[in-house]
Amino acid sequence: MGKAGERLTKGAIHLLLLAWAVVSIFPLVWMLSTSLKEKNEIYTNKSLIPRNALNFGNYVEAWTAGGFSRYTWNSVLYSAVVVTGVVLVSTLAAYGISRLDMAGKKAIYLGMMATLMIPIPGAFISIYIVVSHLGLANTRIGYMLPMVATALPVSIFILKSFFDELSREIEEAAIIDGAASFRIYWSLLLPIARPAIATIVILNTLSVWNEFMLALVLFSETKLMPIQMGLSVFVGQYTTQYELLMAATSLMVLPVILVYIAMQKQFIAGITSGAIKG
């Protein structure tokens, strides 16, 4: 494959990426356009172009009407705590399952995976009952603990698959040197597994950010509610305030993107530290 072939491939790659980028973004244009429209424009102005292209009033109104400052802070808190918890607990467990000899390992792993498969109608109701019996209803802790718990099966599943793939050469060298398993976990595996961990961080931030039903059922005071509660205010009994809903959704997307960008650095770091000089 000569220079021209290389250029062709590069061009094809660019085309593919660009094409999918357009496909990804395009439906959002509707979201954005709706968020910039006036209330009575929504149903009468069918085109994508709002009458006043810089009408950010909806954003302001969505922020204040939805009580978003409080909900956002709550969601940031919940995301940070839950994600930290999930990362710590699931990396430990996935490392153990992937690398260590453990009594009943297979049973434990399969048992956890089985729960991934069973869709429980109203799982949030059952979880709420448990939390209530523990006396933790309407508390932040009572919300965050189950969130960590329910995120574990998927995270462990993903992490174990990644860990399985990683080379064992460094570890075996360290073991011969007499290193304990925990030290291997902390100093060797975690840094190498950064892309995998970054992925878990992103996925879990997303699911915490989008969670609604458990919060609705668990909290009886709106001041503890996460950000999805703010959105639900715009969905009325007979009408939906689309312009506010889309404005709010656009706002909500930003923090998750920020987390994603932060995690991106971990991805690039992974390439360099994947180097294993045998």
Partner: protein, 453 residues
């Protein structure tokens, strides 16, 4: 040497974890003190005294657009009686599940707007979660039309197996569902009068098509099918037979029910439906109606408020009752009832205060304020506007309350309703027939009857 970048942000997060746990425990202590067993137990009500200052009741609701109104009313109430009402808004579809979950942990609020039908409420009655109100609020109930009160009343022989007879909800507002038509589009097609019979309606459909106007749309993709079929269930079968058929005491096939399904087939054959009807929801149909894309819609009285919100300039519409087919033996009765029922928790510790607040909410003055904001008709008959102030559409909807049916019977399993809904969705795009759907309904009915034994 491996970069030690990880511990940097990791320790930050661990710090956040510790902070949050501290915060969580702290707020946990505060919260569990005022645990939601019907509001905070304040010292004053423990001594059972008449002094109401400091008493607080908790009120959950899902009315996004009326939250400020309700908070305002709560403040007025407090200044009059000293009783504080904590108005909490939980919007969206999840309200129903929140009630279910709270019922299971005995933490229902003192007062709530209920989301669900008579059958759903029956389940809460079974678990003794909600309070019977008819006996305690007899005078209040006199303010409402009887048909409305009956919506959540359970008497001997009720189809929900409720043994604790009585009335369990107080109506905040009422509604009913009829046909709405666009006067301008009708005029364009040369139609001068709204149809009075089914045949006239089909003629109107033909004329509209001839004029290039899409005749009709409604939320066929969702729950609207039931309320739209109901008037014709009554027209063809009559109340008694309808109830018996639905309970399985008379056979469904051969009862004449296929005529009800034929209504939808007629509309399909006359090309009455807008495109995409099979999965259309009501809000979409309302949008089309407001934009003049369809000439008729089947909708509820709240549509007036909805249209107002979508386009305040859109006023040229009016209402007509579902028109009776010539071959129907009985009168048409329409779907309607309570828009927002108020329900009280059985376990409330502030019964007097709550009932007082309910009385306050449905008093004439509050009802009038509410009717201006709400999209529904006020339940309190005294609060209904004088004839002169109403638009024709509003008046027709108000009058419609007299034709609301009391009970259309219920099947032993909701699967029969589902079979009908799914079947009608296919009829309206010509992919099924009334006979086929009737058979599917009967299969579901027979299966349900067998399981019930």
């Amino acid at each position: 040497m491996i970069e030690r970048r990880k511990p940097g942000w990791l320790s930050l997060l661990v710090l956040a974890l510790i902070l949050a746990i501290a915060a969580g425990c702290a707020s946990g202590q505060n919260e569990s003190a005022s645990q939601n067993n019907g509001g905070s137990p304040s010292p004053s009500d423990r001594t059972d005294s008449q002094k109401k200052t400091g008493e607080k009741i908790v009120f959950w609701h899902y009315l996004n657009d009326r939250h400020d109104l309700l908070v305002g009313m709560a403040n007025d109430f407090k200044s009059q009686t000293g009783i504080e009402v904590d108005v909490q808004l939980f919007g969206g579809d999840g309200f129903k599940q929140k009630i279910i979950a709270s019922a299971q942990t005995d933490s229902l609020p003192d007062l709530m707007t209920y989301s669900g039908g008579a059958g759903d409420l029956a389940k809460l009655i079974e678990t003794k979660s909600v309070m019977e109100l008819g006996g305690k609020m007899g005078d209040t109930f006199k303010k409402f039309p009887e048909s409305v009160v009956k919506a959540y009343s359970y008497r001997e022989g009720n189809p929900f197996n409720v043994k604790d007879y009585g009335t369990y909800a107080v109506p905040m507002d009422t509604n009913n569902m009829q046909f709405i038509y666009n006067k301008d589009l009708f005029a364009q097609a040369g139609i001068t009068e709204p149809p009075q019979t089914w045949e006239q309606l089909l003629q109107a459909v033909d004329k509209l098509n001839a004029a290039g106007i899409t005749p009709f749309a409604t939320g066929i993709g969702s729950w609207v099918i039931g309320p739209m079929a109901a008037p014709y269930e009554f027209a063809y079968l009559g109340e008694e037979k309808l109830i018996r058929v639905k309970e399985g005491k008379e056979p469904l096939i051969g009862s004449g029910y296929e005529n009800v399904l034929k209504i939808f087939e007629d509309l399909y054959k006359h090309k009455a439906f807008a495109e995409g009807i099979a999965t259309m929801d009501l809000p979409k149909a309302e949008q089309m109606f407001v934009n003049g894309e369809v000439a008729m819609i089947f909708d509820g009285s709240w549509a007036i408020g909805v249209f107002n919100q979508m386009d305040p300039n859109f006023q040229h519409y009016d209402v007509f009752m579902p028109p009776k087919p010539a071959d129907a033996a009985h009168e048409v009765k329409i779907t309607g009832g309570i828009g927002v029922p108020l329900v009280v928790s059985q376990k409330t510790k502030h019964q007097d205060a709550v009932l007082k607040f309910v009385d306050y909410l449905v008093a004439k003055e509050q009802q009038q304020k509410y009717a201006e904001k709400s999209f529904n008709l006020p339940a309190n008959m005294e609060a209904a506007k004088s004839e002169g102030e109403m638009s024709s559409a509003l008046r027709n909807f108000s009058l419609g309350m007299q034709h609301v049916y009391e009970s259309a019977g219920i099947y032993p399993s909701p699967n029969v309703d589902t079979a009908m809904q799914k079947g009608v969705q296919l009829i309206v795009i010509g992919q099924s027939t009334p006979d086929k759907v009737l058979k599917q309904m009967d299969e579901a009915l027979q299966k349900a009857l067998k399981e019930k034994k």
